[in-house]
């Protein structure tokens, strides 16, 4: 749309396309899933505000990736593909409601983190979710993953310049609402 849960920026930069091995030998899905599940669920939480929904969205996205792993696994960044699916699902009101309904149906299976998320983090993501959809997605990826704007652009399916605009507007609004000064500009 491989990386570790907190992949350094350099790892996310595009390249290696000329290496045929990197194109045609996807890693085992299970390894990818184990490594990426929790950060993807974290993104789902940031954009939905519910751990139940976050897990449902993450599972939905990994299922989609699993079904077409032959193609998704060959992408330079399959983790970006999964995050993109989650970001789109989480910010679609209809899909989120469906995920909430499914989560409610699975009362016995639903989980919460061992330690509840502190209030300041809950409040921060609530303000992020109140931003326009693309700004919220860009901000969540910016802080959660620490990615540079080209990597975020890959997930969001837009240009680097567009991501910079989303980040600029979103961070300005967040700073005003949270009463905090902005710090350094996004890279």
């Amino acid at each position: 749309m491989g990386e570790g849960p907190k992949a350094p920026a350099g790892e996310l930069e595009l390249g290696g396309e000329d290496d045929p091995e990197s194109l045609h030998l996807p890693e085992p899905f299970e390894a990818f899933y184990e490594r990426e599940y929790h950060p993807v669920a974290g993104l789902g939480y940031a954009l939905s505000g519910s751990w139940w929904v976050a897990e449902d969205l993450a599972q939905e996205a990994f299922l989609a990736a699993h079904r077409r792993w032959d193609e998704v696994g060959r992408l330079q960044r399959p983790g970006a593909w999964v995050r993109r699916v989650v970001a789109n699902l989480a910010t679609s009101a209809v899909r989120r409601r469906a995920a909430e309904a499914r989560a409610l149906l699975r009362l016995n299976a639903r989980r919460e983190p061992r330690e509840p998320l502190p209030g300041e983090a809950v409040d921060f993501w609530r303000e992020v979710r109140s931003l326009p959809r693309r700004q919220a997605q860009a901000i969540a990826l910016f802080y959660l993953e620490g990615w540079p704007t080209p990597a975020i652009a890959e997930v969001l399916g837009c240009s680097d310049a567009t991501v910079r605009v989303h980040l600029h507007k979103g961070r300005r609004t967040l700073a005003r609402r949270l009463g905090e000064p902005e710090e350094e500009a996004p890279t």
């Binding site: 396309e17 079904r67 193609e71 502190p118």
Partner: protein
């Protein structure tokens, strides 16, 4: 504390909390859940269909008389293997297209487009669309006497192929600055191809081959009719290169797909007030001709729509909705497991199966 410090702290706490959820669920549990959901959806669809028929809202056509494919809704009259699917189930990317150029389906893993023989419901031939290592075709459209195939190379731009099936000539338009064809749409108007890719609208001049980004016009689903180009809810003048109007109520709804047929513009919309469904508008977009709510109380947001002849077909999760443009009524709800793209042509509705990579031929029942 600064915003960045607070953001990073929130991110670190969230990552730790996510780890505290426990191990990632077993994949087997996924499959069971998926199977359970599919079974439940199928049961619900059957129950809804039975209730509708019982109430006399559908023509009482006995299923036994329809030459349906075993294991599918009786409206499905043929299943044509194409290849394995590539776009996500909820993608709006077009992998099947219909028009005067024929019925075409994308075989992404096979790097080909398949021309469908609608008489025998088979693949008549395949056209190779491979562009080299790292490239993947992601979408197919028809228009202007040609078949158009969009391909992308992860992070390194895209390309559009214009295939003239009669002359067996292919022209390639390189699009190095276009990075998202997974959520894309194409329309032909004013001598140019218009490509909505991600958040951007691009104009590809067919003569010069030059591609240019249209500034100030956010991308959206596209539809063209003569000299009109619809970009989401905005009417765009393709010759003048500017927005000249907007559709009825466009500011209040989310539009996911558009189609033009029968002198009308058809739009799948989510309206916070009225729910989800299909709007039929005049071609000028100024007047609402009809509103067809879909799902229970309008809770179903169709992601793709196609129209032609006496059928308008809208695809949503696990269902295909067939609308009769003569009376703007829902003619049938066809339960499908994982419908992808939809096209209308050759007297049939064609739906890609996002799970199996097959093309389903659906009897529109007109």
């Amino acid at each position: 504390m600064s915003l960045d410090t607070r953001g990073r702290q929130a991110a670190a706490l969230t990552s730790r909390a996510a780890e505290g959820l426990g191990p990632a669920p077993e994949l087997a549990a996924f499959r069971r859940r998926r199977t359970w959901r599919r079974g439940a959806l199928a049961l619900v669809a059957v129950a809804v269909a039975a209730a509708v028929v019982w109430q006399g809202a559908l023509p009482a056509r006995p299923a036994a008389t329809r030459p349906g494919v075993p294991g599918f809704d009786p409206h499905v009259v043929a299943v044509i293997p194409i290849g394995r699917p590539s776009p996500p189930e909820d993608s709006t990317t077009s992998v099947v297209a219909a028009g005067p150029e024929g019925i075409w389906a994308l075989d992404a893993p096979g790097h080909a487009v398949a021309r469908i023989d609608p008489v025998h419901n088979t693949v008549a031939d395949r056209v190779d669309v491979s562009l080299g290592p790292g490239w993947f075709p992601v979408a197919v459209w028809t228009g202007d006497g040609a078949v158009w195939v969009g391909s992308q190379r992860s992070g390194q731009g895209s390309a559009l192929q214009r295939i003239d099936p009669a002359a067996a000539v292919t022209r390639i338009f390189p699009l190095p600055e276009v990075h998202d064809l997974v959520s894309s749409d194409l329309a032909l108007a004013g001598g140019s191809a218009w490509l909505a890719a991600g958040d951007e609208l691009w104009r590809i001049d067919q003569r010069s081959g030059r591609a240019s980004r249209v500034e100030g016009v956010p991308a959206g689903p596209l539809a063209a009719s003569q000299e009109r180009l619809w970009v989401g809810g905005q009417l765009f003048d393709p010759r003048g290169g500017r927005v000249v109007g907007s559709a009825y109520g466009a500011g209040n709804v989310t539009t996911k797909d558009l189609a033009v047929a029968g002198g009308s513009l058809w739009a799948t919309v989510e309206d916070p007030a009225a729910g989800c469904g299909v709007r039929r508008l005049t071609l000028s977009g100024q007047q609402l001709q009809s509103w067809i709510q879909l799902g229970q109380d309008g809770d179903t947001f169709p992601r793709a729509i196609a129209a032609g002849g006496r059928t308008v077909a809208a695809v949503a999760s696990a269902a295909l909705y067939l609308i009769d443009p003569r009376d703007n009524r829902l003619r049938a709800t066809v339960a499908l497991r994982t419908p992808g793209s939809v096209a209308v042509g050759a007297g049939a509705v064609w739906v890609s199966d996002a799970d199996d990579g097959a093309l389903l031929r659906v009897d529109p029942g007109a």
